[in-house]
């Protein structure tokens, strides 16, 4: 069985690389994008089992990226990462179709549990 693929869209380089290292270590194949625009531009060419999106990014923000990705991959689950703890972010993201919202800084356990829960459901 091939490794599950996780797409990461995060503009902060340090966060992106940490995530990438962590998920690769946990046995996932990782696709990294440094902006919403980059992720959306060629989204017909790649497919992932789950996408981790930063909520607030320059250019296309998380919600817009989700909308575009959903147009091409309607079944791809989306998880948001956000540094704003406002409940509003959680609410608006969930209402618009995200599977989960994780608050930064997240614990590795929380992240991996969320990912595994979603993947086991969609598998």
């Amino acid at each position: 069985m091939s490794k599950p693929v996780i797409a990461i869209v995060e503009d902060e380089e340090e966060l992106r690389e940490n995530l990438c290292d962590f998920l690769e270590f946990k046995g996932y194949e990782v696709l990294c994008f440094d902006s919403g625009d980059a992720a959306v531009a060629g989204c017909g060419d790649w497919k992932a089992d789950l996408a981790l999106l930063d909520y607030l990014m320059p250019g296309l923000n998380g919600i817009e990226v989700m909308k575009r990705l959903k147009e091409v991959h309607p079944d791809m689950p989306i998880v948001f990462l956000t540094a704003s703890s406002q409940g509003m972010v959680k609410e608006s993201a969930r209402l618009k179709g995200a599977e989960a919202v994780i608050l930064k800084p997240y614990s590795p356990n929380e992240l991996i549990e969320t990912i595994e829960r979603i993947l086991s459901r969609t598998a």
Binding site: E14, L15, D21, F22, F25, A83, S84, K104, P105, P108
Partner: protein, 383 residues
């Protein structure tokens, strides 16, 4: 001014003539009848005294008293006979006439005075109103400015916290990656060093979260989602949750939940946080082998939660200050680490529910924190 003085002199002159005439008439009466002369004297001077009482203040009284005097005079003329009575009546009549004259002469100036007075009053009222309006708009401006500043402060705090979280996430992520062995296995010393860094990052994370939470409560963005909550179940869960921390210090953590289940109409997450904060604090500030007890009760229908410990306690002054932001008691500074915001948040949350939170303590003998919530509204019975 000149005219005023002239008129004043006129009045004085009339007055003098009137008094002279009166005295002459009085002299005549005394000659004819002692009894009537005394009566006349009494009435005339009584009237004069009354006039003098009301002279400047109530012009209407002139007219009333004068009319009374005239009526008395007329009565005497018609129904009494004799020279003395007639003389007395004429005297009274004259007195009335005198007063009429004075009032008549004074009338235009009185009216004028009144008009000026009214104008002056109106002007004063106007001035005051303008002053008040200015002060009011000043206050309004200040208030608007304060509100704007408060909004700016809230926006700043939430922006700053957001900006702090991003690098914090990167630090934490790097540490976590090292700890789980992304870069290979670690020896004991490396693990210890990293654990230290991780603890500090966790502390910083708690602090930022607390600042953000307090900011949200203070700016009114935090809303309660009230429902029927079983405090009994909640406390049982919290005791379970805090058991490991208590066991670590060999602290006996118990609940006294005697009697029926205690319910409250409250936001379960917020109440859980408040009670959890109190239990956590109690464990923090209680030395090893101590005891922490959570009691639930209903007092006049109001649900109460009490968390008592056998910890270091506080002085009376300290127990008042602990609700202030970032306040740390003398003991807490070296005993336990926290944001210094937990109790401020707890107080705000309890007060949002319309309840109260109090601390009683004795230095060295432990503390008791008591939350009182408003009585639950009568439950609507389903049909």
């Amino acid at each position: 001014m000149n005219q005023e003085a002239k008129r004043h002199n006129q009045v004085k002159r009339i007055d003098r003539i009137a008094i002279a005439v009166l005295l002459v008439f009085l002299g005549v009466t005394v000659v004819f009848s002692f009894y009537h002369s005394v009566l006349c004297l009494l009435i005339v001077f009584g009237l004069r005294f009354l006039y003098s009482l009301f002279y400047a203040r109530i012009p209407k009284t002139y007219w009333a008293l004068s009319a009374f005097g005239a009526a008395l005079a007329a009565y005497s003329l018609f129904y009494e006979s004799g020279v003395a009575v007639t003389v007395f009546a004429v005297a009274a009549l004259l007195e009335c006439l005198r007063v009429f004259m004075i009032a008549l002469l004074n009338y235009p100036s009185t009216v004028r005075n009144l008009e000026t007075l009214t104008q002056e009053l109106e002007k004063r009222v106007q001035d005051r109103t303008t002053e008040l309006k200015a002060a009011n708009s000043e206050l309004q401006r200040a208030n608007t400015k304060l509100l704007e500043l408060d909004k700016l402060k809230s926006a700043f705090v939430s922006q700053a916290s957001h900006d702090l979280r991003t690098p914090l996430t990167a630090i934490k992520g790097s540490l976590d990656n090292l700890m789980i062995g992304v870069a290979g296995p670690l020896n004991e010393k490396q693990t210890r060093i990293l654990e230290r860094a991780q603890r500090s990052v966790d502390r910083l994370t708690f602090l930022i979260n607390d600042i953000l939470d307090l900011n949200r409560i203070e700016s009114g963005r935090e809303k309660l989602q009230k429902t029927d909550v079983s405090l009994t179940t909640m406390v049982k869960g919290l005791i379970q949750e805090h058991k490991p921390a208590a066991d670590q210090k060999s602290i006996a953590l118990d609940a006294e939940l005697n009697g029926d289940e205690v319910h409250a109409w409250a936001d379960p997450h917020k109440m859980e946080r408040v009670i959890g904060e109190l239990i956590g604090n109690a464990i923090k500030y209680t030395p090893e082998q101590g005891r922490v007890t959570v009691r639930l009760s209903l007092q006049d229908g109001a649900p109460c939660v009490m968390v008592s410990d056998t910890g270091v306690g506080m002085s009376e002054e300290e127990s008042k200050k602990i609700w202030e932001r970032f306040y740390r008691t003398a003991n807490s500074q070296h005993m336990a680490k926290g944001s210094g915001l937990g109790l401020s948040i707890a107080k705000e949350l309890v007060e949002m529910h319309g309840g109260s939170i109090r601390a009683t303590s004795e230095a060295g003998r432990g503390s008791t924190f008591k939350i009182t919530l408003p009585p639950s509204p009568v439950k609507e019975t389903a049909i």
